[in-house]
């Protein structure tokens, strides 16, 4: 079948989104942006296509009425099992790379001990892996680097102590190895993983096993359907480095404007807070951008700010919002310099302020900056759509809501749980338009992405 793909190569995360000829969203994929843009784009796209398969599974199984009430539970389990399969493969890969790197590191006499400790550590990691994917498990994020990293840190300290090797050395081996592993694309194993996951799922859900033959059939037929990448459009901060021709690139401003419009057709103002930039965009009733403003060269008050804060507090990004929500007052924070965020935090802590109150202040500070950029672009008009990674943060949303009300009165505020994909949705829509409305055909893409 024909698919249209948008890829948004952000400074922090790379997002991909697939739509079909009727502009139904088939799938979304995300990965952390990394040093290798091609890889990031490829992985995001691959993830989106995997998610598209799940969507198609859903449709196929639904049509066959096999699992009636139990369909969602079944697919949820299948997805978790699939993630576990993926995780285990990457973990095995990581172990291998780590062991190799111990050899090349200058650890001298300690090398042997580190090697043994690593072996121990990985056996623990493997043993714990299924735990990470049980229903309702909390993970630091969904990226391998973060999940594996968090586990490695947590278990590594004790392993190091028991084995009498320096913890620093274990950390160093990890830091060296993770880059190599995360830049590997495991394209070939996806089908195999899906099939293996299916087996796991049948184990986990004995009720479903009864219909295993009838379930396998539609799944296999979905797997046999070729998802033709009819047209791909790239956007985002790193778009210039995508191996696409100019025809296949759109500015991120246009994509965010259009994406927001597709999600909420009445959108007039869009705010996007990403990792390194904040954009305020005004769009007309057709989704065409009328004006826009971005933060200037200083990265103060963008998403990365929260990243620094999270690092400083040794917390996951998704934990910041809930902490700030517990605040009973808002500490005034004046500087939103990302780099000094940690210093500011310590400063306030030493003055005896509570963590949650400071967090509330930090979130407000970010939103204040965004409010200025919005004001600069012409203010907030009804309806107002908030997109980008920071829109996932409930404390940021709370600050925004109250500041919008204070300054602009009642406006409809749209936040989609998938708002991080807004740019990719816009790009996919441009891809669709290029073929369906303008009759273009894809030019030859860079090999790596086409592969």
């Amino acid at each position: 079948m024909k698919t249209f793909i948008g890829i948004d190569l952000g400074s922090t995360t790379t997002k991909a989104l697939v739509i079909d000829e009727k502009r139904n969203v088939l799938g979304r994929g995300i990965t952390n942006s990394r040093s290798n843009y091609d890889t990031a784009a490829t992985i995001a796209k691959q993830e989106a296509l995997v998610s598209a398969r799940f969507y198609l599974f859903h449709n196929a199984l639904e049509n066959s009425h096999i699992l009636n009430g139990a369909l969602d539970a079944f697919l949820g389990q299948l997805e978790r099992d699939f993630r576990l399969e993926q995780y285990l493969e990457q973990l095995a890969d990581l172990e291998q790379v780590c062991q190799r790197n111990v050899g090349s590191a200058k650890f001298g006499d300690a090398a042997k001990g580190v090697g043994l400790a690593l072996a121990k550590l990985f056996s623990l990691l493997k043993a714990e892996a299924p735990q990470l994917f049980v229903p309702g498990a909390r993970r630091k994020s969904d990226f391998f680097r973060d999940i594996a990293g968090a586990q490695y840190l947590a278990l590594g300290e004790k392993v190091a102590k028991d084995a009498g090797v320096r913890y620093d050395m274990l950390l160093n081996v990890f830091d060296r190895s993770i880059i190599e592993v995360e830049n590997r694309v495991y394209a070939d194993s996806i089908k195999a993983h899906l099939l293996a996951a299916l087996e796991r799922t049948f184990v986990a859900l004995p009720e479903a096993r009864a219909f295993s033959q009838r379930i396998r059939k539609p799944i296999q037929s979905v797997l046999d359907t070729e998802l033709e990448e009819t047209y791909v459009v790239g956007t985002g901060y790193g778009r210039a480095r995508l191996p696409f021709s100019k025809e296949h690139i759109r500015s991120e401003i246009l994509c965010h404007g259009l994406g927001a419009h597709v999600m909420y057709p009445k959108t007039a103002t869009v705010l996007d807070i990403g990792g390194q930039d904040t954009k305020a965009i005004q769009v007309d009733p057709h989704g065409i951008v009328e004006s826009f403003q971005m933060n200037d060269r200083c990265a103060a008050g963008c998403g990365r700010y929260l990243g620094y804060i999270a690092d400083e507090m040794n917390m996951g990004l998704h934990e910041l919002g809930p902490l700030a929500m517990k605040a009973t007052k808002t500490v005034r924070i004046n500087s939103t310099c990302t780099v000094f965020a940690g210093a500011e935090l310590r400063d306030r802590l030493s003055l005896g302020e509570k963590r949650e109150d400071i967090m509330a202040g930090l979130h407000r500070a970010i939103i204040l900056r965004a409010m200025s950029i919005l004001a600069r672009s012409g203010g907030i008009r009804d309806q107002f759509t908030f997109t980008g990674g920071v829109a996932k943060n409930e404390a940021a949303v709370k600050s925004l809501t109250s500041l919008v009300r204070e300054n602009y009165g009642e406006v409809t505020l749209n936040i989609d749980p998938d708002s991080i994909y807004t740019g990719a949705l816009g790009a996919a829509t441009f891809a669709w338009r290029a073929v369906v409305e303008e009759g273009k055909s894809a030019e030859h893409m860079g090999e790596k992405v086409a592969a």
Binding site: D175, R176, Q276, A299, E312, N314, T338, V339, F340
Partner: protein, 276 residues
Amino acid sequence: MTCTVGIDIGSGAVKTVLFRDGEWLSRRAERIRRRDPMELAKQGYEEVLAEQNLKPQDVAYVATTGEGENVKFATGHFYSMTTHARGGVFLNPQARAVMDIGALNGRAIWIDERGKVLAYKMTSQCASGSGQFLENIARYLGVAVEEIGPLSQTSKNPEKVSSICAVLAETDVINMVSRGIATADILKGIHLSMASRLAKLLKVTGIVKGLALLTGGLALDEGLLAALREELVNEKIVGLTATNHPDSIYAGAIGAALWGAFRHGRLSELQSRAAA
């Protein structure tokens, strides 16, 4: 016999030293790593005392420096440039400039042979030349802190980081990695940008010749030292020679302990005069 303790509470580490009549008896350095610095200060203080079998009442003056203005058990506080200057001449009597590169800020201090601050200059808000930035990047590149220096020195084509902002500089570095720039060249590039900022700070203070001693946590980074030497030549500040000292990280704490002794002397003098 006068015992004094100097405690330097930095943003990266807490350093504690014990002195008796100008003689350095004990030391402690503890990376903060998200622990409470005030606790670490107390711990360091207790440890240096225990090491010399001393009790708190044996200590004439506990001097803090760095972010230690609010330490409860301290006798007095000196500001870090004052203490780094004094510590600098203690470590190397030839030093006429002290450059302290901490986790967040850099400072260049021009001093005389007694450790008097003649002029100084601190980095301003933006922090792409800070220790923390280097540390973050090293982590990203998978390089241990101790390896940074040696690796940087192997670089043939250093790639300079132009961005003034640490956040944007991080992106610069990521781009470099994707362009296939060697790790050594990236590290050297960062060292060079840091060095050029430091050279600039130094020049602004007005010092033209003498020995410049690196203090603080980054002083032992040989790569930075080498880069600084290059920058001094590039910038034609030829009268200055940069160097470091194995105990450079303690400079602030040493200065505090020594100034504590000095103030103690003054204070008892005043007291005896008042009694008379």
